[in-house]
Structure formats: C-alpha cells, structure tokens
C-alpha cells in the first residue's frame, strides 16, 4: 500500500505507462493493452478530483468493456478520444457529489453480473472493487491508528473515525462503511480486551484474520501484487485509499490445492474467465472419471482462487453449489459444510442460486449435528413461503419425526427424500436405526419378523437389513428358520448399540 500511494502522489500522469510490446489484441488483460489506452486512462484520472474517481472509474469501465467486447481495443484512436466525463463535474464539490457517487455505485452493483472478460478487465485495472476489498485498505489504516491508540488514548477514536470516513468515501456500496467501521471496533476490542473469551465475535475475528492473511505482512512493502509488476500498471490507478484488487494471471485450467501460508502469487491464480473454463472441465471429468479425491482438491483450489480475488457473483455460487452437491454425494459432510457456510453468506447478498434447496439441506444437517439452538434460530426465520416448499416441508417433517422418535414416519421420509437430502440423512440414519431397534425390542413380544424390521428401519431389502443387524451383533437373536428376531433377548444389545451411536458426534465429520 505505502509503495503504491507514494507512486500515485509523485506521478499523476501516465509516465509509467510505457511497457513492452504486446502480442494478442482484444484481450481483457491490461498487460496487453495498447499504450495509447493506458495514457488515455491516465489522462482520465488526472482530469478529475479525488471524490470523482469512482465515477470516472465507472465511465472508464464502460468504455473499455465495450471496446473489448467489440474487439476494437486496438482500432480506437485513444489519443484523440474524448474523456468520458458523463455525470462528472469538473470541480470536486463534496457531499453533494458523494450522494451521486452512491447512486452510481448502486447502479453499478445492480448491473454487476457483467460478462466474464469485462469483469476481469475491470478488476485488473482496479476500477470496481468488490466489497471486502475495502477491508484491506482500512485494516491497514486501523493498524496504524491502533498503535497510536496504545500510546495516546484520547486521540484514537478521532483518528479512527477519520480513517473510517475517508475509506467510506471511497466505498462503492453502502454496506461497506458499516463493515469497515465494525471491523475497526472489533479489532480494537480484540487488542485491548485482556481476554476476549466472551466469544461475541470470535468467529468474526477468525474470518477477519483469515482475510488479513492475504495482506502483506506488516513492514514488508513489496507485496507481490500486480502493482509490483510495472509493465501495465499506470501509477494513476493507484490511490492511497483505494484497495488493491488481486487478479491472477495463470492460464492453467487445473491446479492442486495448497493451503496459503503467504500472500498469493498472481502467476498461480486463475482469473475468472479461466475459472469458468475450469468448471466446465471439472464437470466433464466428474462425469467421466468420478474421482472424488481429485475433484474435491480441484474445487478447493478453485474456491481459493475465487476468494483471493474477492470474486462474489453467481459463478461463485455455482461453484460452491456444485462442490456442495458432489461432497454430499460422497458423504463428505465437512467439505459440504464449508460450502454451505459460504453459500449462506452469498445468498444473503442476494446472489442468484438455489437458496431453498440448500436451506432444506441445512435443516437436515442441523438434525445431524443435533444443534438445537441453530435449529431454533432457523425455524424462527422461516417464512410461510419457504415452509410451503416440498424439500423444506420434508426436512421439517423429518425433524418432527425425530423429536417424536417416530421411526416409522422417519424411515418413510428417508426413502422419499427430495434432491440430495437422502445423502445428508445417510449420515444420521444409522443412529436413528439403532434408536428404532431399541424401541422395537423393548415394546414388541415375543418376536418380530425380519421383513417387518426391514420396513421399519428403512432398508430396501431383507438382505441389507440382515447385514446391518449382523454388523451390530443382533443377528445372533434371529431365529434362522423363521427369520424372526427375539425381541427380549436382543434388547440389551440394541440398547447398547443405541447408546454408542448417540455419543457425541464429530461436527466436522470430515473424511
């Protein structure tokens, strides 16, 4: 940050735009833009005051996107082209303008799901910072004010609010000032509270830390971000409060997942349009090869690339949904849960996807983890409209059957679960089978036929039912000739099985 802000102050013009020759025209990658375009962009920014930069960014984005789409990036004479000054006043007039910017920003947010290349190009030139980006800029500012805070107590709040205000001015969506202000406060609590065990924001802090990991380590100024590679970066793009947008340059479709331990390297991160191709490839591969270990790994690296580039759009949702479904199919609840968690916040941002389908999964998942308080919270927020949905109605019936220990209904619901609900139910159905067996052994006398058990504990054949009983040492109580289970004799074993099955479960359920 510091490095870039210095450059921005010294050279407002396009001095640094000269770069090596480019080969492929009509590309969204600014690295291959014509020099004249870079100079043009530089002029654009030089012509406006600081409060109008984002408006200018917006206009520029439009111009360049349309140029890319019509593939005449190289045909346009950028040197003589008019500056896109629509909606931009020559002089910075403060508050009034800010309002205007907000409206603009909102419009942009609405029209956000642009074409792939458009978004990439724009991202690369830092014109459209997606929300969490402001996090980065402000978090650095706050570190500084925190330091001040520790020495002179009185001044801290004012410097923080100033910093917040400043960054808020640059924020494009109005949710962001809230987020940044918030994170500032939170951070402060974590630093000054001698114990933050009260847990109010542990989760939040953890996320924040995780985000901060993508920042440069403090003190180290030379971050390997695109800013450090001078070939296409015009210094005018970089403003002191503007967040860095990270865009990868890797063109390889596949990539092994590696947990990041330092700042990501743009050379190994795939930009959005490549990720789209990756997804298509993975879908193909999954269909033909069904290699879960490979697929899961690939999806994780895709998710990582999306995260480090702060891409949150319907493609992101698509990736998470597909990964969640594949994880479910393979009984990998840990991976599923990670996706589910992300999906919840993506849906909360009103990004298109399948929120109802996944809400139903979540109900079933909470039944699996027996998380009563989350379940209560979820039920309170459930709307009538949602309850009317088949999948959700099914999940709610499952819940009721489990509360009632109504194994008869539960097993019917298990066998008729919509979508991929059955896969989640797989994870707890054995537990419920043991509960059912205990009840049956306690209540029925003298014996029950195997056939009956098959139906009542939800197996599709007597054989698989018998195998289950055999696995849990209950087959010894089955009369081989009549194929009936001696209930009374089997009861102690059944009781034991149930107690073992209901011991605390591993919530992560990772495989």
């Amino acid at each position: 940050m510091t490095l870039s802000s210095k450059t921005s102050k010294t050279s407002k013009t396009s001095k640094t735009t000269s770069s090596s020759a480019q080969n492929s025209p009509a590309n969204g990658n600014p690295a291959v833009w014509p020099d004249s375009l870079k100079a043009y962009v530089g002029r654009c920014f030089a012509s406006v005051g600081p409060s109008q930069r984002s408006a200018m960014e917006k206009n520029l984005k439009k111009v360049i996107t349309s140029a890319i789409e019509s593939t005449n990036l190289w045909a346009i004479d950028w040197d003589t082209r008019e500056l896109p000054l629509d909606g931009i006043k020559a002089v910075d007039d403060g508050e009034d303008m800010l309002e205007k910017l907000k409206t603009n920003a909102k419009k942009r947010a609405d029209a956000k799901s642009d074409s792939a290349t458009g978004t990439v190009a724009v991202g690369a030139m830092r014109t459209s910072p997606p929300p969490p980006a402001s996090y980065k800029a402000t978090s650095i500012t706050f570190t500084k004010s925190d330091q001040k805070y520790s020495t002179t107590n009185g001044q801290a709040s004012s410097s923080i609010s100033k910093a917040t205000k400043r960054s808020a001015k640059w924020d494009q969506r109005n949710v962001e000032p809230e987020i940044t202000e918030d994170s500032a406060k939170r951070k402060r609590t974590s630093i000054f509270a001698d114990t933050n065990y009260l847990g109010s924001n542990i989760e939040q802090e953890r996320k924040e830390k995780r985000l901060l990991r993508f920042d440069s380590p403090s003190g180290n100024e030379s971050t390997p971000t695109p800013a450090a590679t001078p070939d296409y970066v015009s210094a005018t793009f970089v403003q002191d409060t503007e967040p860095e947008i990270f865009v990868g340059r890797s063109m390889k479709l596949e990539k092994k997942y590696l947990r990041l331990t330092s700042a990501p390297d743009p050379e190994t991160v795939r930009p959005l349009h490549i990720l789209r191709q990756t997804l298509d490839l993975l879908k193909e591969k999954w269909k033909s090869e069904r290699n879960y270990a490979y697929i899961c790994d690939q999806f994780k690296s895709m998710r990582q690339d999306l995260t480090v580039q702060l891409i949150q759009n319907d493609f992101t949702v698509n990736v998470y949904e597909i990964h969640a479904r594949i994880a479910l199919e393979n009984g990998d609840l840990g991976e599923y849960n990670q996706c589910q968690t992300q999906l919840r916040s993506l849906y909360a941002m009103n990004i298109a996807g399948h929120p109802i389908e996944f809400l139903a999964y979540r109900i079933l998942y909470l039944l699996h983890t027996r998380n009563r308080s989350d379940m209560n919270d979820l039920l309170i927020e459930l709307t009538d409209e949602q309850k009317a949905d088949d999948a959700i109605a099914h999940a709610l019936q499952v819940r009721e059957a489990m509360t009632d220990q109504d194994y008869h209904s539960l097993m019917r619901l298990y066998l008729s679960a919509p979508n991929m609900g059955g896969y989640i139910m797989d994870s707890f159905i054995d537990r419920e089978r043991h509960a059912a067996l205990e009840i049956i052994c306690k209540a029925f006398r003298p014996d029950v036929p195997l056939r009956f058990l098959t139906d009542e504990i939800g197996f599709d054949s007597d054989k698989s039912c018998y195998e289950f009983l055999e696995k849990h040492a209950l087959n010894q109580f089955i009369d081989e000739s009549s194929l009936r289970l001696r209930a009374k004799d089997a009861y102690p074993t059944a009781q034991n099985n149930r107690m073992t099955a209901f011991k605390k479960i591993d919530i992560k359920g990772q495989i």
Partner: protein, 417 residues
C-alpha cells in the same frame, strides 16, 4: 444561561468527588429533567455548541475522564432532545460507555450504579438507532443498504463492561466490581435474545460458570434479588431450549420464588416457560387461580392444557396450529410438540382402552379407529410405532404382539400418570 450549565457541571463535579454514584446517574441520564432543561435553554440562546460546553466543563470538572463523560452526556442529551439525531446520540452513548469502561477499570464497586445507567441507556438508544436504520432502508428512495447493527455493536461494548467487572483483581470482595457481573450479564442476555444470537448467551454462561466454579465470584444468591431473578430467568430459558427441562424448572423456580410479588409481568414471563416444563416433567396442571392472575397465559395455554388432559388430539392440534408463530418465536414450539406425543397421545390411547371396557387385549385396529375418529388417518404400522414409543418411554405398560396385531396391556395401571 451558561450559569445553569456551570451549576450543572458543578453538581456533577461534587458528585464525582464524593463518589455519589446515584447522583451522577441522575445527572447523566439522557432522560434526566435537569439535563434536558439546560440543553434546551442553552440551545434557545445559541450557546449549545460543543466549544462552550467543553469550556465550562474544563472550568468545573477536575478529572479529565469524568469531564469527558460529562461532555458526552451532554452531547447525547443534545442529540436526542434538540438535534433529534438518534444516530449521533448512539455514537455518543457508545463512546460514553467505552469511556466509562475505562474509568471503571481504575475504580471499584462505587461506580457500578453509573455503569448500570449508562449501559442500560446504551441498549435502548441502540435499539432506537436500529429502528431508524430499518425505516430508512425500507424507504424505496433509499440508496442505502446499511444494516441495523447498532445493538450488536452495543453488545460488544457492554461485553467489554462485563470483562471489566469480572476481572477486578485489586479490590477486596466487598468493594469489588464483581458485584456488577449479574446485572451486566442479564443486560447482555436481553440483547442476545433480542438479536436471536443465543449461542452468544450460552458462551457468556460458560465463562460465568468457569468463574464461579473457580470461586472467583460470589454465588448468585448473594446478589441483589433483581439481578438474580433476571439471570435465573434467562438461564432457565436457555436450559428449556436445550430440552433440559429439569434444569430449566430449577432455575425458573428460583426466579419465580424471588420475583417481586407485584412484578406480575415478570412472573408471567417466568411461568410462560415454567408451566409447560412442569407439565412435561410431572404431568402437573396449573390451578384456576393461575389463569385468573395471568389472563395472558390463560389465553396461550388453557385450551391446550385442557385438551391434553382429555387426550383431545383434534383440539390440541388446532390450538397448537393457531399459536404456532408465537410458540416458534418464543422457542416453546418444540416443547408443545413433546407434550403432544408424551401426554396427549397416551391419553388418547387410554380413551380407546376405556372404551373397550378396560380389556387388556386391544386390537391395533381399535386404536387405529380411535385415531381416525379424531381425524388422524394412519395405518396399523404407524399405530404400532406410536404404541411402541409410548411403551418405551413408560407412558403405557404392556407389549405389542406383532403376530396377533394386538396390544397387550398391563393389568395394573396400564396408563400411569
């Protein structure tokens, strides 16, 4: 006019110097009449600017931090009563609370009443601020999508207050800030329940249990009853929601027994959870006098309870459906479902048993028809399953003969209560 302000700050200074917490609270409260009057009259002569106020405060209030407190209070009152700016009021009140947290760290028990006033008002102002944000967002012209998160933020400030109270290592127990712990926790419970972040409430309880297990804080019985009742009420509900009805009943009993006898609203709230817990655990029904004293509870529960007594599944289901929203929001719904299976259904089966002249061998089909009669249309296997669960849980004594499609009931009290 400025003289009034000076006199006001003078009184503030005297109260601070004398550690008269109650007086400070009265002077500070943004609803305090004297403060409102001064703010308004100063505004009338255009002397309500921060400079004037800070200048007067500098002249009168000796301690720097308390002086800031006084100025913040003034700003809160000004924002509420003159500027009509709830967001500014919230910012000031939050800053005020943070400031007071720091002051509290250097002092002991005497300051607690001031802390109570400030945190309580922070909660109220934060809720107002959230209402304001909600209103603004819901307006169609609003380009703003700000979240109403002020109460959440306030909770973090108050959480800090709790830490300050808990971590008093300097003062001896009689003078410890630890006497503020249960008040602050109760306030946090209120906020967390309002926000629906129950998990945060649970984690506060965990911290508290660790402290009291280590003997760091006095037992809750030694605290003022008002603190204890609120606290017990909330931990009671937490246990209730976790389906730990015995624990819930225990806490709620303590709350009820110590509740002020004229605080009927509080008693009503406690009973709202205690009554179903009691019914589920002991099959005990409240007396008529309870309904008379608490008409609201009567509306909620009487019909359901009477239906459960009779085994009248149809009425119970209808009454439950009519109250579903209410029960879900108050987190009682699950318990009412449990009452249905554990109490209403056995009574219904008992009716069939009585109707078949107390025969100990009742065909499954007879129960099925009984259920059909009250509008429950299920097959024999479902009836057997329900019967099996009842036998398993001890609400019915006997066994099921799958071969003969018959339920064989115990001679002796087949439906124990």
């Amino acid at each position: 006019m400025a003289d009034d302000l000076e006199a006001y700050f003078q009184r503030f200074q005297t109260a601070v110097a004398g550690h008269w917490a109650k007086d400070i609270s009265t002077l500070m409260s943004s609803n305090g009449q004297s403060l409102i009057k001064i703010v308004k009259s100063l505004h009338a002569v255009r002397l309500a600017d921060t400079d004037t106020v800070s200048r007067v405060a500098r002249k009168t209030v000796a301690d720097k931090m308390w002086r800031d407190v006084a100025v913040h209070c003034w700003k809160v009152a000004y924002s509420i009563h003159v500027a009509l700016d709830i967001m500014a009021a919230y910012r000031e009140q939050n800053a005020l609370t943070q400031l007071l947290n720091r002051i509290a760290e250097r002092t002991d028990k005497w300051v607690l009443p001031v802390v109570y006033t400030v945190t309580q008002e922070l909660r109220i102002i934060a809720m107002e601020a959230d209402h304001y944000i909600e209103d603004r967002v819901s307006r169609p012209s609003a380009s703003n999508s700000a979240k109403p998160n002020k109460l959440e933020e306030a909770a973090r400030t108050i959480n800090r207050t709790l830490t300050v109270c808990l971590n008093d290592r300097n003062s001896s127990m009689p003078n410890s800030r630890k006497w503020g712990v249960y008040f602050i926790i109760s306030l946090l419970f209120k906020i967390y329940f309002k926000l629906g972040t129950i998990s945060l409430a649970t984690s506060v309880v965990r911290v508290l249990n660790a402290s009291s297990a280590a003997g760091d804080i006095p037992s809750v019985e030694e605290y003022p009853k008002a603190h204890m009742v609120t606290f017990k009420y909330y931990v009671g509900i937490l246990a209730f929601m976790d389906e730990e009805y015995e624990k819930a009943q225990e806490h709620l009993h303590v709350a009820l027994n110590n509740c002020h006898k004229r605080a009927t609203r509080n008693q009503e709230l406690i009973l709202q959870y205690l009554l179903p817990a009691h019914l589920l655990l002991h099959r005990r029904y409240p007396s008529k006098s309870v309904w008379r004293t608490f008409p609201r509870l009567q509306i909620i529960y009487e019909e359901l309870f009477n239906a459960s007594k009779r085994g009248d599944m149809r009425t119970y289901e209808a009454a439950l459906a009519a109250r579903e929203k209410l029960f879900v929001i108050r987190r009682i719904y699950l318990t009412m479902l449990k009452i249905r299976t554990k109490i209403v259904r056995p009574r219904l089966f008992e009716q069939v048993y009585l109707a078949s002249d107390k025969s100990t061998r009742v065909p499954v089909s007879a129960f099925r028809k009984g259920l059909e009669f009250v509008g429950i249309d299920v097959d024999d296997d479902q009836v057997e399953c329900w019967a099996a669960v009842m036998i398993y849980q001890g609400q019915m004594k006997g066994y099921i003969s799958r071969e003969r499609k018959t339920i064989v009931l115990s001679n002796n009290d087949p439906f124990p209560r």
